[in-house]
Symmetry: C2
Subunit: 352 residues, 2 copies
């Protein structure tokens, strides 16, 4: 299997992209094509042990920057890394394309370069989202590609999301929920009410409307929404825990808390030293708590999921976060591999 | 000043409503009219010391239940507590109406009973939202009344929200932000892009588009959005911290953690006893941390804000959460008092 990576896309590219590619090539035993400026990629590759790995550089002289307008820059920068990467897939030289760059740019380049799957009205951007369910994640579609939608687009999002969640993420008979401002079927905007009716007749496990609070609770496995609301959901979910944690940190930075905290640490060390058994228990407990906290952090870490697929285009494209580090890139490549192995594109085609 | 309270509205009414009314009457020295079934209200009142308080019962034989359809039940249940309460304001027998009942019902009853302020196209439901800003809150408008909007409705939401935030919440020259799927002015659905242009010309401090992550960060004081997205924001903000906390709790409930935790507590008690100074510091630190945690909980507690106003109707109406307890009811009555004192209805009229 060959996966093409946009080596120039993302806030810390090409350092993190090249590192992630090396990591993935070793862990999954696949060939990786690195698209971008050859000398910059080569400099990064030289920092790693690439012995025995199948890594190839595909030259691309331009880059679509984060602040570039997607539609314009994809047209004007013919030799941009996303355009070159998508062409590798189109011409059959690669099985999938992965990018952490400007997601609008990747979307437009993929749409122009690969075209839509016949019958799909609008491709959509997706992401995995951590939940409390047994599967630990749900799958959000759309998270930004289509700010304006029609009811029939939402039904297709439900279908594509259901197939991806079952075939690639491995969740059997996924529950598909439609985001609305109330659980009842008469709740929602005009478009949502119409989509509800159509989804009731669709060939997937539609469980009805779900509210904002039901998403992290894990009440559905596939969360169908328009790209506007989906973007608000993803960004708010990123900002809310951050806001709460920072406020707590602010509040704990008062002189009283710092003095008392310091005194407590000092006397704890003294107590640990004087009473041997307490010292041992505290140490053991500290280690276990630390391990536990790391497990939980990992569970709510978007990096684990490696990014979402761009569904509805005629090829496998994985779009990951602009802030992706090497580990996220590695996992995004894994997601691409799984999508290819499970032949998601043909699965969608067969269902239409 | 006289405030009318829907004594029958809310999950724990009339216990919590009557308790909240007694509390508010004592704390703020105002007259309160309790609307609902007289014997049930009297039974609750008898549980409290109401000596010297101005509390009056206004009979209403019906109640709009949480599961009732707002439009139908407001029409069919003429003697519902919300209808009777709104009539008190309409006929000048009271200055404001407060309800924790079916918010759609309160909305419809207020719209029918009081009418719109002349020039206002659509009244909106609002809420205060905790943030990290110096003001500690922002003001969300609309959070559920209008699932479908037009650009000009959003501009009016910005105007009403700005006036309420300045006059009633006391935030000078509030920054008004428009929720979108990107900060740039060309981001958004068709309606949002059009609203952006109109808001740039409006007589308030418009700061542009804001993303989901900017809301808890406190980048704007007034958050303008349609009722569909506003509902998703509020419900997700309620569900997300809950989901994370519950997952952490689940994860900590393993046998290993429980055994180690128990051992640590036992040995800490032993260590506290053996080393006197550690015992004292631990106790002091425990107390301070406890106080701090309570402060933070209060800060992120929707109950502090007592609910949002229903803006755009020709009278003061405060709608609070169905799960409101006595403290929330007390604070909702305080919000009504502040809205009356600052004459929010006439302030909006003057601006139109």
């Amino acid at each position: 299997m060959i996966i093409t990576l946009d080596a120039m896309g993302g806030d810390t590219a090409p350092q993190s992209t090249v590192y992630g590619a090396v990591w993935a090539a070793r862990d999954f035993g696949i060939a990786i094509q690195l698209v971008g400026k050859p000398n910059r990629i080569a400099t990064e590759l030289a920092k790693h042990d690439t012995q025995g790995l199948d890594l190839q550089i595909i030259p691309a002289s331009e880059v679509i920057e984060m602040e570039d307008s997607p539609a314009e820059s994809v047209r004007s920068k013919k030799d941009a890394s996303v355009n070159v990467g998508v062409r590798q897939v189109k011409t059959g030289k690669s099985h999938a394309f992965v990018s952490a760059g400007n997601s609008g740019g990747t979307f437009v380049a993929s749409l122009f370069g690969l075209g839509r799957i016949k019958g799909i009205k609008r491709p959509a951007l997706t992401t995995a989202y951590p939940t409390r369910s047994a599967h630990r994640i749900c799958f959000l579609i759309d998270v930004g590609a289509n700010a304006d939608v029609k009811p029939e687009y939402l039904v297709q999002f439900g279908l594509m999301g259901s197939l991806y969640t079952e075939k690639v993420l491995g969740i059997p008979n996924p529950r598909v929920g439609l985001v609305s401002n109330g659980e009842e079927k008469d709740k929602g905007s005009k478009i949502i009410k119409e989509a509800y009716k159509l989804m009731n007749l669709a060939p997937f496990n539609f469980i009805g409307n779900i509210e904002g609070k039901d998403i992290p609770a894990g009440l559905a496995d596939v969360i169908v929404t328009d790209g506007f609301t989906g973007n608000v959901i993803v960004k708010l979910s990123e900002g809310l825990p951050k806001g709460i944690m920072e406020t707590i940190a602010d509040d704990f930075k008062t002189p009283t808390t710092l003095i008392v905290g310091g005194a407590l640490i000092t006397t704890t060390v003294v107590a640990m030293y004087r009473t041997k058994i307490f010292g041992l228990t505290a140490l053991l407990s500290g280690l276990l708590t630390w391990r536990k906290i790391n497990e939980i952090k990992k569970r709510f870490d978007y990096r684990e999921f490696g990014g979402g697929a761009l569904l509805g285009v005629d090829g496998v494209v994985i779009v990951t976060h602009g802030r992706a580090d090497a580990y996220t890139i590695r996992n995004a490549i894994r997601a691409a591999k799984q999508a290819v192995e499970n032949d998601i594109v043909n699965t969608i085609k067969e269902y239409l």
